[in-house]
Amino acid sequence: MEKKKILIVEDETTLQKTLAEFLAEDGFEVLCASDGEQAVALAKKGKPDLVLLDIILPKKDGYEVLTELKSEADTKNIPVILLTNLESPEDIDKAFEKGASTYLVKSNYKLEDIAKKVKETLKM
C-alpha cells in the first residue's frame, strides 16, 4: 500500500521535528511547513492526504490557510486537523465553520493520540 502523505504546519521547530519523526515511524510520508505561505504552496504542490495545522503562524495564520485550502478545487477535499494551543470556544467554532475536520489542543494530546486521530480521519 502506498504511504499516506501528511503535511505538518508548525512554526515551532522542536514540535515540528518530533511530530514529523513520530508520524514517519508510524509509516507516513511527512511534509513540513513553518509558515502559512509555505503551507499553502506545499499543500498545492505536494498533494497531501491530510494537513495538521497550527493557528498562530508567521505570514498567514492557520485560519487564512484553512480558508484558502477550502476555497481551491485542488485542495478543498484534503481533511485538515487543527493542532493548536488556543482553546477558547470562539476559536474552535471558527475552525469548524471554516471546514476543519478535527480540533486538537496540543497540550492535551500525546503524539500517540494525535496519530490515532490522523488515522481515524483518514479511515485507516
Binding site: T14, F22, P89, L111
Partner: protein, 329 residues
C-alpha cells in the same frame, strides 16, 4: 466586630500592599473626622463673624479638602484594581508561553520511549518516563493556572451544548483506574446504562469531574473505595463521588472551595496539590447552571456532589439521533 476589623488599617495595608496612610478605610475615617471638625468650626466661625464671605471661604476650604481626600481614595482603589488585572494578565501570558516548551518535552520523551527506545536500558527508560510524567503534571498545573486567571478576569467562556454526561464520567473513571490501582483503591462507577444528556461545556466539565474523582483517590489511602454515581432528579442530574478517605476537618469545611485552600490534614497526608482543583470545579459547575456541595467527616470520608441541568427533551432527541448517525458512519 466587623467595624473593628474594618478599622484595622495595618492589616488592610498589609493585605493591599500599600502604606497605612493610603488605605481606603483610613482615608474614609479621616474624611469623616474632617467633616465633623469642619462643620463645628464653620458653626464657630459663623458665631464670631457675621460676614457671609468668611462663611463661604470656610465652607469652600472644607469642600475642597473632602473632595481631594475622596479623590485620593478613588485613585488608590483604581491603582489596586489595575495591578490586580496586570497580575492576572501576567499569569495568563506566562502560562501560555510555558505550554510550547512543555509540549516539546512531553512529545520528545514520548518519541524516545515509543519509537527510539531500542537499546535503552531499563534505568534509562524509567528516567525518561519520569521526565515525561513530570512534564504532564506541569502541563496540568499550567492549565489550572490559566483557568484560574480566566475565572478571575471573568473570561472563562463555556460552550453550551448537549452531551452525554454518563459517557464522560465513564471515560474519566477509566482513565483514572491506573492511578487508583497504584494507591490500592477501588473505583466503582454505578452507571444507569442509559445516556444522561445534560447542557454545558463537555471538556470543562470533564475537567471538573476529573478534579473531584482524582481528589477522592488522592486522599484515600490503601484499601480505599471510591464510588461514583450519576442519577436524574427533577430536571437535573446529580453526580456524586464518595470516598472513605481522610475527610475534611469541621472547622475548615467552609473554606473548601477557596482558591489555594488545602486542609491541614490533606497537607500532612499528601504534599502534592495546589488547592486550585475545587475552586476551578466550582466555577465551571456554577457557570454551567449547576450547584456543587459536599459532606465530609474527618477520618471517615467525603462525598462531593454536583447538579447540572438536563438537556431539553427536544434537543436531547436531536443529540441522540446525531450521535447515532455518526456512529453508523
Amino acid at each position: 466586630m466587623k467595624i473593628v476589623n474594618d478599622l484595622n488599617f495595618r492589616k488592610q495595608a498589609k493585605e493591599l500592599g500599600i502604606s497605612m496612610w493610603k488605605t481606603p478605610s483610613f482615608l474614609f475615617l479621616l474624611m469623616g473626622i474632617i467633616t465633623i471638625v469642619a462643620m463645628a468650626s464653620v458653626y464657630y466661625v459663623s458665631n464670631f463673624y457675621e460676614s457671609p464671605e468668611v462663611l463661604v471661604i470656610a465652607e469652600s476650604v472644607v469642600v475642597i479638602t473632602i473632595f481631594s481626600i475622596g479623590n485620593s481614595i478613588i485613585l488608590e482603589v483604581e491603582r489596586i484594581a489595575r495591578l490586580n488585572k496586570m497580575k492576572s494578565e501576567f499569569v495568563s501570558v506566562a502560562s501560555h508561553q510555558l505550554r510550547t516548551p512543555l509540549s516539546a518535552i512531553r512529545w520528545e520523551t514520548e518519541l524516545l520511549l515509543t519509537k527510539f527506545g531500542k537499546g535503552l536500558s531499563e534505568k534509562q527508560k524509567s528516567g525518561i518516563e519520569t521526565i515525561n510524567l513530570l512534564a504532564i503534571r506541569m502541563t496540568r498545573l499550567v492549565s489550572d493556572l490559566l483557568d484560574v486567571a480566566r475565572i478571575d478576569q471573568g473570561r472563562l467562556i463555556l460552550k453550551k451544548s448537549c452531551f452525554d454526561l454518563e459517557k464522560i464520567v465513564q471515560e474519566t473513571v477509566h482513565s483514572l483506574i491506573v492511578v487508583a490501582k497504584g494507591k490500592n483503591t477501588n473505583i466503582i462507577f454505578k452507571n444507569s446504562g442509559t445516556p444522561v444528556i445534560v447542557v454545558g461545556d463537555a471538556e470543562k466539565l470533564r475537567l471538573a469531574i476529573e478534579n473531584l474523582i482524582s481528589n477522592a483517590i488522592k486522599y484515600t489511602d490503601g484499601k480505599g473505595k471510591v464510588e461514583v454515581s450519576v442519577r436524574k432528579k427533577n430536571g437535573f442530574v446529580i453526580f456524586s463521588s464518595k470516598d472513605n478517605g481522610v475527610g475534611i476537618p469541621d472547622e475548615q469545611q467552609s473554606q473548601v472551595f477557596n482558591k489555594f485552600f488545602r486542609s491541614d490534614n490533606a497537607v500532612k497526608y499528601q504534599t502534592e496539590g495546589t488547592g486550585l482543583g475545587l475552586y476551578i470545579a466550582k466555577n465551571i459547575i456554577e457557570q454551567s447552571g449547576g450547584n456543587i456541595w459536599f459532606q465530609s467527616k474527618e477520618g471517615i470520608g467525603s462525598i462531593f456532589s454536583f447538579s447540572l441541568p438536563l438537556c431539553s427533551p427536544v434537543k436531547a432527541r436531536h443529540f441522540t439521533a446525531k450521535a447515532g448517525s455518526k456512529h453508523k458512519a
